[in-house]
Structure formats: C-alpha cells, structure tokens
Amino acid sequence: MSLKAPVTFFLLIAVAGLAVFPHFSDEFYLEFFTHLMVMGIFAMSLDLLIGYTGLVSFGHAAFFGLAGYLLAIVTPQDEAVALWLSLPVCLGGAALAALVIGWFSVRTSGIYFIMITLAFAQMLFYYFNENEALGGSDGIFIFSKPFVGFGDWQIIDLANPTTVYYFVLASLVACYLLLTVMLRAPFGQVIQAIRANEHRTRALGYDTQRYKLVAFVIAGTMAGFAGYLEAVSTGIVSPGHLHWHNSGLVMMHVILGGMGTLYGPILGAFILGLLHDQVQEVTEHWHLVQGVFVIFVVLFLPRGIAGLVGRLFGRPPDLDLEENRVAGEDGNKVDAEPNGERTK
C-alpha cells in the first residue's frame, strides 16, 4: 500500500523532466503536455474509483464537463473572474453533482453501477447538448481566463501558456500527493478494503455505502478540477466533454496505464496521447491502431503499463484482483460473480 523506492525515484525524475520541459518544448508540445497532465489528473480521479474503491464509473466525464460549463457560466463575457471565486463554485458544483449521482449509484453494483453512472452522464450530456443558451451542441467559450491575484495585483497570468503549464503541473503533483495521503489515511484503507471484499468490510463495522459515496464525491470533485483546468487552458467547453466517449477514453487511460496505482493513469494519459499524436500523422486510420492497441493491452497486459513497470522491478503490484485469491478450496472469491453481482 505504499510507494516503493524505484517508483518514487522514477516519479521524481518524471516531475523534474516535466518541470524543465517548457524550456525545450515548442509551443504545441507545451500546450499538448498541459492537456495531457490535465487528462492525467482526470484519469487519476477515476482510478480512485476503479482502482481503489472498485467502482467502475462509466460517467466520469460528466463532472469533467460540468465544472467547465460552470466556469463558462460564471465568467462574464468581458471581464475575468477571480480564481478564488470560480474554482470553489466549479468544484462545489462538481461535488454536488457527484453527491447526487453517487447517492443514487452506490446502491447498485457491478454492471448496474456501470450503467447507472452512464445514464446520469448521458442526462447531463443531453441537457447541455440541447441548451441553446449554453451553446448547444457547439459548446461555449470562456472569454477571459480566471484572475489569480488580489485587487489589481496579479500573481500569475493564466493567459500565458507557460504559466498555465506550470499551474497544471503543480496541480498534478498536488492531486497526486493528496491522493497518496488519503490512501494511506484510514479512509484510504477502508476504500481499498471495500474493493478487495466489500461484504467483509461491512461486517467489520464500516458503512461501506457512505465510504463509497465519499470516494465518489472526491473523485467527482477532482474530475471537476481537471475539467476546470481544461476549460481554463483551452477556453472552450462543449457537450463532447461530457460524452460517453470521453468517459471511455479516461477509462482507457486508467486501465492501459495500470489501475490501482496513481502514476499508472497518468502514464496511460501520456502514452495514449503521444501515440495518438504520432500515429495521427502517419495514417488516417488512427482508430484502427488505437483499437488494436487497446485489445492487445487488455489481453496481454491486464495490469496495464504500470504492471509492466512493476514486473521490470520484479515486484507484484500492490493490489490485484485476479491472482491473489486466497488459496485453498474454501478460498472465497471476492471478485464479481460472472453475472456481475457481488455478494450482498
């Protein structure tokens, strides 16, 4: 349950690399990496649900897009809105949505959980898709970047791509650390226990529904944070941000990268993003490449790229649903039954 030394070392190098990257990068890769880091935060937040709590949410993009829309709504057309004001509003909105959706969803499990989260995300998608006041299917602009400062004194300028890059990098590191701390704290222990064996966790005296709900809200809020950053850096938000394709994409980042690790999803976002960047220029059949890649990873690297990294370092990953079942004939399967229902 704790970070192992080689991974920490690797992560420090990666952060250092990202910190000096703008110095060498052209404008495109600067903004592209900003986007990938945002996706990394987004994927990490979903991993809190999929990889740590065992909740497979297929509607995570709802919070991502919702926060962006909220920023667009609170930003007046011709003046900037303070970050101190807009960020709490956007995060609060995402958290509230996650609370409502989560309250309904955590009662179900397995396939039903997947589908009900999808249903709620679709509802929000259609709400924005058909709301002409908010730009309908075309989406809506955020005309001015949030203002970071007091009075007339601006601390950082979010209109500058390099500044945004560092702002997002700092956010990524902060989210990573926050989740790391949370996962080591009692709360984190409980949600990991829920993923391993929810029934037993409840029998030990934990109100698992509440822990799942809180995890859902935290993940939704963090997804909202990612959506806020994306909206800030691109200045546009559209129903496509909430579309199930986006939920599917971030799920792909989590699983390809390696769920149950915090760096895995970030890795997934970067690898898939860079692969797209390169392949897109060679062939128009990017989807074919992507499809084959996805199937390959699912079949041959079930623990994702992080699993591969783990194997290289010669240690099994911390959490594993597939193989570490209790030995012996009485070994109790904690995994979902084939029909998707866990023991009630």
């Binding site: 190098i13 250092a16 690399g17 990202l18 000096v20 990257f21 110095h23 060498f24 990068s25 052209d26 404008e27 495109f28 890769y29 903004e31 592209f32 986007h35 259609y126 898709n129 058909e130 002409e132 730009g135 309908g136 299917s137 075309d138 989406g139 602009f141 994306e230 691109t234 200045g235 546009i236 559209s238 129903p239 496509g240 941000h241 394709h245 986006n246 960047d277 390169q278 897109q280 220029e281 060679v282 062939t283 128009e284 990017w286 989807h287």
Partner: protein, 403 residues
C-alpha cells in the same frame, strides 16, 4: 493521409530526450523553419474522416486538392504540402488538433472544419493570433462570419442563414399559408429554421409549430404523426447525412409526401438523394449549388471530379474546390509569400471566384460568400435547378464588427 514532416518529429523527440535528461541541453538546436520561397506551402486541414460526416471531409479534401493540382499543384509558385487531421467531429479534441496544425506543423493556411463547434474552437485560437489564415469550407454557423468574425477567418461555403432564408419565400410563392418546421435541435438546425421562418412569415405565411428533434436522433415516427395531426400546408426541414436519408424516407413512408410537400435547405437531399431514392423525388430545396447548373465551369468540374474519384461531386466538393480557388488567387497575388498576411487578407477580402461550379461569387466584408441561392428539385435522384431563389444573397453578418 498526412506526410509527416521529418524535422518536426526530430524536434519532438529531441524535446523528450532533453527532458529525460538524456541529452545535454546544449546539443539541442531549436528548430525554426527557414521558409524560403522554395519551401512548400503548408496547408493544414482539419475535417472529419471518420464517423457519420466522413463523406463531407473526403469530398472537401478531394476537390481542394483537385483544384490545386489542376493549377499545376503549386500555390504562388511553391509546392504544396497538405497536413490533414481527422477532426473526429470532437470539440474536446479540437484545441489540440488546431494547435498541432498551427504550432507544430506551422501551417500557412488552415482549412476546416465541418462542425461549427470545432469551427468556434479553431476561431478562438486563430482569431487572436491573426495567423494563420483560416478558411472554413463547410461549417455554416452564422457566428463564424458574425459575432466571431476576424480578419484572418474566411468562409467559402455558406452561413446557415443563406440556404434557408430563400426557402421561406419559395413556400409562400407556392401558395402555402401554414408550415411546420422540423430540424435537429442544434446550432445549424435552429439557425436554418429561424431563417426560413423569418422569410416565410415576411411573405404572409405562418409557422404553426417548430419541432426540434434531439440531436442526433433518427427515430422520427412520433414527430411525423404530430405533423399528420397538425396538417400544415407545408413542412420546412433540415437534416443532414444519415438523418436526412432516414427523415425523407420516413416522411414518404408515412404518406405525408403527397399531401404535405416537404421543403428545406438543400442539405436535406444533397449528396444523399440516391440513398433516399423515390422518397426524395419532387422535393424542393434551396442551396448555393445544383448538380445541373448550366455552366462550363460546372460541367468540367463534375466530369473531372467523377474521373478523379469515381464519385459524383456535391456541394461539399464545390466548397472544397472554391477553397482551392481562393488559395490560388491569393497566393498568386502575393507571389507565394505566405509571410505577407496583410496582403493575403486584402486579396481574399476582395476576391471574386469567377470560375466556381456554383457560379461566380464574391467575398463579403464579413468574409462570407455573396452568392446565388438556387431553387432545386429532385428528379431521378439528382438535384436539378429550377431557377434562382435569391440573387447575390449576402448574409446579414449580425454582430460582425468588420461588416
């Protein structure tokens, strides 16, 4: 689709390597393209090549390349390199794709898109930079040459208002007093229906019901029953692609076609009338193009296109073709100097595309074509011209500071 530029790949890899600390910082030479007049002109294209609207993307790209090839494959004496990306009709991906074309590929011109949300995202990036010049070969959102208009954004296609507005008068002229409008509930649908309604009511008609179908739903049966129970004189409608095929077929199958004639902007039958078959026969639409326009330019264009790509040309390919013409004109005027953005813009602003298959048109102050809108009718699967529904129609360009 694209030829990868070696230098920019190297650039990227060098960036990563340096970042990973594997390469000494000093060994890295920042790349700045030394664009001499001999270097090829880069045309970036962002259009859908997958999904429902891939046909549009292909038609536009094919005709654009055909036009430039016909002129010797050069723009202002320089060879042309195309960098085409699949927009995937995804607005969230639009900023990255646009940035890639502008900042990584450093294209000299940006052509795209089909989706107006993507157009807005592109305009948002391109507008404030004043470079490169962006040419919209389809997306009809009024705002692109309206409230979002910018000196370096041009459109060679239409504004949603244009093909729809004359349709209102056509219905009134045919003696219809009441009408139901039905379209997808999204930007293009709403703007086109509003334009049609405006003109229909100006000519004494009355829109009795405005049905908005959730986008991109294609199950129309409930709405058809609603229309049948309202019994208007006419129905004014906009759908495109698969939705257009299905709507027109369902409309006929519900028995409404003979009792309540169907009108609409030409996209209702453009490029899809073959798939619609008999159901489309007789439908009157208004558009800035028709297959049988009687001009040498059109006949040659259609023959060339058919020969090159084995498919019939449509309005989308015309828009791509004219995009090519605009580029040729502008680049010829500046002698291939893509750095002369101001001059390029002023040439394009004053441009008249004389040899367009759709007939001559000229650029408006808001950078949208001032063009004839034709009245067409489907006969044996072809959109045949009946006459001109509106001569030299100019978009009102509401909210554009340049107009």
């Amino acid at each position: 689709m694209t030829k990868k530029s070696e230098s920019s790949r190297r650039h990227f890899i060098a960036g990563v390597a340096a970042t990973a600390g594997l390469a000494a910082a000093g060994s890295f030479v920042p790349t700045r393209f030394a664009i001499g007049v001999a270097a090829p002109v880069k045309v970036g294209i962002l259009l859908p090549y997958s999904g429902t609207y891939a046909m549009l993307g292909n038609s536009i790209t094919n005709a654009l390349k055909m036009r430039i090839d016909q002129a010797g494959g050069k723009l202002g004496g320089r060879a042309v390199e195309y960098v085409a990306l699949d927009s995937e009709m995804s607005v969230p991906k639009a900023p990255t794709n646009t940035n890639k074309l502008i900042k990584k590929e450093k294209v000299d011109f940006l052509v795209g898109p089909v989706h107006s949300g993507i157009a807005a995202a592109m305009a948002k990036i391109v507008g404030p930079r004043n470079a490169p010049i962006m040419i919209v070969p389809n997306a009809g959102h009024n705002g692109i040459t309206g409230s979002l208009c910018a000196p370096n954004i041009f459109r060679t296609s239409f504004s949603n208002w244009q093909p729809a507005f004359p349709g209102g008068k056509v219905m009134a002229d045919d003696g219809h007093k009441t009408c139901v409008t039905i379209a997808w509930k999204y930007g293009a649908g709403i703007q086109m229906m509003a334009a049609g309604k405006e003109n229909f009511e100006k000519h004494g008609g009355k829109v009795v019901k405005d049905i908005q179908v959730p986008f991109p739903k294609v199950e129309f049966q409930a709405f058809l029953s609603e229309i049948a129970s309202i019994k208007p004189d006419a129905v004014f409608s906009f759908f495109s692609g698969g939705g257009a095929v299905k709507f027109v077929k369902d409309y006929a199958a519900a028995g409404l076609k003979d009792s309540i004639p169907l009108y609409g902007p030409g996209f209702l039958t453009e490029g899809v009338s073959k798939a619609q078959g008999a159901a489309a026969e007789g439908i009157k639409t208004t558009l800035h193009y028709a297959a049988n326009l009687d001009s040498d330019a059109n006949r040659k264009f259609r023959a060339d296109y058919e020969k090159a790509y084995g498919a019939s040309a449509n309005v989308f390919s015309v828009q791509g073709f004219d995009t090519g013409s605009l580029l040729l004109q502008a680049m010829a005027a500046v002698g291939g100097d893509t750095g002369a953005t101001k001059d390029l813009i002023s040439v394009m602003e004053g441009a008249t595309i004389v040899d367009s298959p759709r007939g001559a048109w000229k650029m408006s102050k808001a950078h949208n074509p001032i063009q004839d809108i034709y009245l067409r009718q489907v006969k044996s699967g072809e959109n045949l011209v009946l006459g001109v529904a509106a001569k030299n129609l100019e978009d009102p360009a509401t909210g554009c500071s340049m107009a």
